[in-house]
Amino acid sequence: MAERVLMKGNEAIAEAAIRAGCRHYFGYPITPQTEIAAYMAKKMPKIGGVFLQAESEIASINMVYGAAATGCRVMTSSSSPGISLKAEGLSYIAGSDVPALVVNVQRGGPGLGGIQPSQSDYFQATKGGGHGDYRMIVLAPASVQEMASLTIKGFNLADKYRMTSMILADGTIGQMMEPISFEDAEIETYEKPWALTGTEGKRAHNIVNSLYLQPDALEKTNFERYERYKLIEENEPMWEEYMMDDAEVCVVAFGIASRVAKNAVVAARAEGIKVGLIRPITLWPFPTKALRAAADKVKQFISVELNMGQMIEDVRLATECKRPVSLCNRTGGMIPSPEQVLESIRQAQKGV
């Protein structure tokens, strides 16, 4: 039996990052993710690492960019309005092909919004946020255990594909306490011959850069980057299926919404409704194949989200609109109750 410790979601991210070999954290305070910074501030100096509170989110992501360019495992964390400020750096990191881990413990928006949990940065995380053609690997934990394990996975994937991994969490999981284990963590290491380490007079200079004044050269790098993205779409989608074997209704939900949805699925099953759940764990790459396969079996989809309906667009794309997709949502920091989701399932069942 693996040793288990009781941790808060935000702290689990910080501890997992340290275990993944991250020794550099640059951040700026914002609710509801401050425990990550506090944990790093306490731990890093004791293990030879660096915690630095930057003057802004903009500065912190650019510190991450510089640190990542040296080949170090590096991270920052923030919450929705702060991620908007980091968008510039995220685009440069993507355009320069350096690996980094960015955590977004989401809160309600737009604008200053609120400080209660939300999933309204789905578009920002999966469709861009910064300028230009680029992607980020987006991992959506639904438990404190996953806050830890996906952080480690995120570092591995970032290094493997030389890009940003984003942990797209929310205020609820960030604050939640659950027992977790680090024993299954696999730390992968990758060669980084592109890193800025000083030439030592032994090689030509390395240049980390996203500027290409010749359009054909820029097009070529974008094509190459998207070849890499294609590999990720093939190899890296992660999802969980729950009671899908005989399901006629499929609930799709990620993060905290999936936990509410799971309770509703159990309750609906008790009423004899054949319903199951698909929980995307990677939001990009989206588990398109799983949804596409489900569309051949189920008659109706319900997308449960803490926003005005963002992932629902990807559900429709993945299922090629073969089946109706309805939305069950709350927004602004509100969380749907299991009863609200159960009622949506009942309504969907009537349509079946």
């Binding site: 550099h24 640059f26 660096v50 630095l52 930057a54 003057e55 802004s56 903009i58 500065a59 912190s60 650019n62 510190m63 991450v64 960019y65 510089g66 640190a67 990542a68 360019a69 040296t70 170090c72 590096v74 510039e88 750096g89 440069y92 320069s96 800025l196 380490t197 000083g198 030439t199 030592e200 007079g201 032994k202 200079h205 390395n206 240049i207 980390v208 850069n209 996203s210 500027l211």
Partner: protein
Amino acid sequence: MAIVFEKPKALTDTVLHYCPGCPHGIIHRLVAEAIDELGIEGKTIGVAPVGCAVMAYDYFACDMIEAAHGRAPAVATGIKRCRPDNVVFTYQGDGDLASIGMAETVHAAARNENITVIFVNNAIYGMTGGQMAPTSLPGQVTQTSPYGRDVNHCGWPIKVCEMLSTLEGPEYITRVAVNNVKNVNSAKKAIKKAFQNQIEGKGFSLVEVVSACPTNWGMTPQKALEWVQSDMLPYYPIGVYKDRTAAKEAEGK
């Protein structure tokens, strides 16, 4: 006969893209000479800005990174905190350092971040075609101040060295110019000292180099250097604005 002057090794053979007579080339060379003389090319990492010097990453032979506009001191901080034994410098213009990147500049200085900042002040945005800069002089005509900089409308130029030297943090803040041979030679000494300070772990060193932009000032290169002397330097006086080590030594005496 022995060679008494040639291109420093820390510059690559890439032809500089700068306009004829642009002192960026002189300042690049001074940085490269400092790197050569200190023997640090193999462990130096440079940060290029956004602006005319954006392609500096092709010109310096050391490892280089291109930063977003104004963010070079933050990028340099990230690099230096990961690799404290490397020598890290930024090369930035006035729009980059004193406008969009002012927060990054001030806070890197306040932290006494152990980096070297080369700040080229030519009182104009060159790369975008000659707009008003945070350092454009009162009355200076630019594309976006076509009737001359009106300080009642858009405020006064920022004196970076004077401002930064009020901070406790930084080690060395100095202003030099490259408008004549004597000043170029002084500029070289200051730049070398700014690198030497970093090697000795003394902290944040910034060299403001008062430069020229013949193209966007609408002057011949020679006339532009004369304008530096007649108009720029009275507003931006050459001098050492802060030198913590020298000040301590003076106290000790």
